[in-house]
Symmetry: C2
Subunit: 465 residues, 2 copies
Amino acid sequence: MARTKIVDLLKSKDFDKEINVKGWVRTRRGNKNVNFIALNDGSTINNIQVVVDLASFDDETLKPITTGACVSVTGNLVQSQGAGQTMEVQAKNIKVYGAADPETYPLQKKGHTLEFLREIAHLRPRTNTFGAIFRIRHHMAIAIHQFFHERGFFYFHTPIITGSDAEGAGQMFQVTTLDLKNVKKTDEGEVDYSEDFYGKHASLTVSGQLEGELAAMALGAIYTFGPTFRAENSNTPRHLSEFWMIEPEVAFNEIAENMQLAQDFIQYCVRWALENCEDDLKFLCDMYDKELIDRLKFVVENDFVRLSYTEGVKILEEAVAKGHKFEYRVGWGTDLQSEHERYLVEQHFKKPVILTDYPKEIKAFYMKQNDDGKTVRAMDVLFPKIGEIIGGSQREEDLEKLRTRAAEMGVPEKDIWWYLDTRRFGTAPHAGFGLGFERLLLFVTGMTNIRDVIPFPRTPKNAEF
Amino acid sequence: MARTKIVDLLKSKDFDKEINVKGWVRTRRGNKNVNFIALNDGSTINNIQVVVDLASFDDETLKPITTGACVSVTGNLVQSQGAGQTMEVQAKNIKVYGAADPETYPLQKKGHTLEFLREIAHLRPRTNTFGAIFRIRHHMAIAIHQFFHERGFFYFHTPIITGSDAEGAGQMFQVTTLDLKNVKKTDEGEVDYSEDFYGKHASLTVSGQLEGELAAMALGAIYTFGPTFRAENSNTPRHLSEFWMIEPEVAFNEIAENMQLAQDFIQYCVRWALENCEDDLKFLCDMYDKELIDRLKFVVENDFVRLSYTEGVKILEEAVAKGHKFEYRVGWGTDLQSEHERYLVEQHFKKPVILTDYPKEIKAFYMKQNDDGKTVRAMDVLFPKIGEIIGGSQREEDLEKLRTRAAEMGVPEKDIWWYLDTRRFGTAPHAGFGLGFERLLLFVTGMTNIRDVIPFPRTPKNAEF
C-alpha cells in the first residue's frame, strides 16, 4: 500500500479510508487501554496522531515504539475526537523499522539547548526547530532561483577552486595535492608547485563576482548561487568559514536599478517565506522570537530608505552630538560598524536602509568611481537585527580608471588580465551585488547564531561530519 | 528610455514604436547607403538586425561599431523587408559603450575551434555555441530544482569542506591554511595540524551522499546540488576535478522506487530542455550533432530497460561468443567498462538501460546487501553516447550488516560513527542516487568534451580565471 506523506494527509478529507503513513515517533503517551503516538515524517512540522488500541497489539510490537523509533502504520484516517487534532489514524497494523534505545538516543522529549544540538548536527534535523529551519532554507533557495529565472537571469556556476585571488574579499584556504609531510622547494626556497594538481598555488573562492561579470557581459543578466570560503579566524555568531552566496550581475544596470533589484529580490524571498512556510515560521515565532513574523511583514510592505554614506554619517554624528554612545568612532572616511548600521535602521529610520556612495578607500578596486574623486558607487543594504545583508556596486567600466585603481590598491595586472578584457572589448555599464544566504536565513528564521541556519557549520577547529 | 531585451523584442508586435535595445555587435555589413548590424544581448541566441541609414550618422559614431563592440540603439521597430528576418530596428540614435579593437579582439566573425575557445574561457560565453550551452545549463538547473520542489523534496546543502573521507569515491584535495614553506611536524614526524584552520586534516567533498542520508532520515526526501571534487589525474574528455552533482535521497524508498525516480527525473529534465531551449538546441543540432534533438525525444518517449548486472553480463558474453570484440574482458565480477555499457544501450537494447544488483566487491560499503550474499542493490543508469549517467543504490539500513561491510572494506568506524547513528536510531529503508550535472549536459547539448559544458573547467594543471 502506497505511503501518504503527513503533509498531504493533514490536508486530506478522505476520512474512514485505509491509509499508510511512515515516520519517526516524536512522543508516545496513553493509558492502559489506548496509546497515542505523535508521528512525524519531516514533510511538515506537524505530527499525525496515531491511536493504538492496546487490546489489538501484543507487547512485543509496541515495546520498541519510543521517541525516535521509525514505524510504518496502516489504519483508518478518522476525524479526531481530541482537542487540537483535526484527524488521527486508528492503527490496524504497525511495523517497526528501527528502534531508538531510550538509554542512548540523544533526542528525548525534553528540550535541548541549541549549543547541545550543534554538537549532534547529524541528528538535529530531526528536531522541530531544525526541521523548520531547513525547510525554510529549502524554500528560500527555491525562491531565489524562481525570482531570477522569472526575470530572465541565467544561473551561472563560477569556479570554486581558483588560481586567482584578486577579489581581495578575505583570507583564503589553499587547495593542494602535495604531500605536506614532504613539501619540495625550488632552488630559491619557494614551494615547488610543479607537482601540485594545478601546477600552481590554488585556493577556494571568496566570491564569484569577477567571473560573474564576465558572464553578464555575454549573457546579459546572470546570478551565482554557490559556496564561498573565508579562512578568517572569527569565532562569532555571524561568521562561517564556508557559506553560500548569491551574486547577481546585470549588464546595463546602474546603481539605481541595482538598488531596486536588491529590494525586489529580498522582498520576493521574504514574501515567499510568509506564503509558503507559515507553520514553520509560526513555530519559530512562538518558540524563539515573538516579533519574527511582524518583522518579515514589515520588510515586505515598506520601501527601503535610500541615502548616501555621507548623509548616513551626518545622522550618526548628530546622534553622537545628542549624547548617543557608540563603541566605535563615527566619522566620514571610516567604515561603518554593525552598531552604526543598526542605529540607522532600528532607531533612526525604523526601516531597511540602502547606503550608497562610500569613500573609495574603504571599498574594492572594481567599484565605479564618482565624479567627486572621493566616492564610489557602492551600496550596502542594512537590515534590522542583521546589519549588512547585501553589499554591491555599480562596476567601473572604464578600462583606464579600473587599471589605475587596481594599481593603487595593489592588485597586480597579471592576476586580472582576463577581468580587464571585459573592459577592453565591448565594455558597458553593469552592476551587481552579493547576498550571504545564511544572513538572509538569520533574518527569515529569527535565529541569532549563523551556525544554526546551515546544516553542517564550518568554523575554526570544526569540520565534523 | 527603458531597454527591451532582444528575446522579448523578437516576440513583440509593437511595430512602428520607438524602442531601445542594447547589446554586442555580432556583425556589421552593408553598402554605401545603409549598414546592417546584427546585435545580440545574450538573452537569446537570435540577433536583432539594426538598420543604419548612413546619411543620418557621422563616421565618428559608426567607426567603432565592429564585431564585439557594445552599443545602445534607439529607433523604431519595423517589420522587416529582408529575407530571414521578421523585424528590424531602424536606428535613430546610437551610443557606443565600448569598442572592440578588430586587431586584438579574439572573437572575430570567423569560426573558432572549441580547443581555442577553451583557452579564452573568459570570453567564450559571447559566442553562439557557449551562449547556447550556458543558457541550457541554466535551464537544466532550474528543471532540477523544479522537479524536486514539486515532489516535496527539500534542497539540502551538504558540506564542501569535510574532515571525513569515508565515502571512498575518489582521491581528495586537501584544504589547509598551513604555510607550506614551513610545515611543522609532531614528535612522531607527522604533520602537526594543531595550527591548521580546522585543527585536523580537511578535504574537499567527493560526494554529499552520507550527509544527505542523515537529512533524508529526518526530512523524508532531500536532494543536494553542489560542487564535488576529485583529485584524479585524468586528462580525458569525460573528467573534471571540479564538477556539480545532484544527489537525491528518500526515506522509505527501495530499489524499484529509486529506479522510477531516476527515470522520471531525467525524462523531466530532457523534456524541459525540448520545451524551453528550442532555439539553442536547434543551433547545436545544426552545428555539432544532427541527431541531438531526435535522441532527446527518444529518451523522453521510451521507458528505460531494467535488468540485473548478471543478465547484462550474460548478454555481453553472448556478444563476445558471436564475435563482438571488446577492448576489456567481460565476466561476472568485473566492473563494466564504458564500451560494455554502450554496447548494451546502443547496440543491444537501443534504449537507456538501468542495471541493478552488482557484485558487492565492486560497489561501496553502504549498499544494501541482497539475500544471495553476493550482490548489492546498486543501480546504474546507462545512456547512449554517455555510458553511466546516474549511479545509485538502496542503502543498507541494518546496523550490523553495515558495520561488517564497512570493516571488510577498510572503512574505520571512528570515521563514520555519525553515519552509523542513522541505523542505530530509528533506521528505515532508504535509497538515492547521484547524477553528474555535466554528464547530463553532455547528453542534452550533444557536446563531446566535458570542458565545454562548464564555464571554467578545472583539470590537471589548469585552474585559470
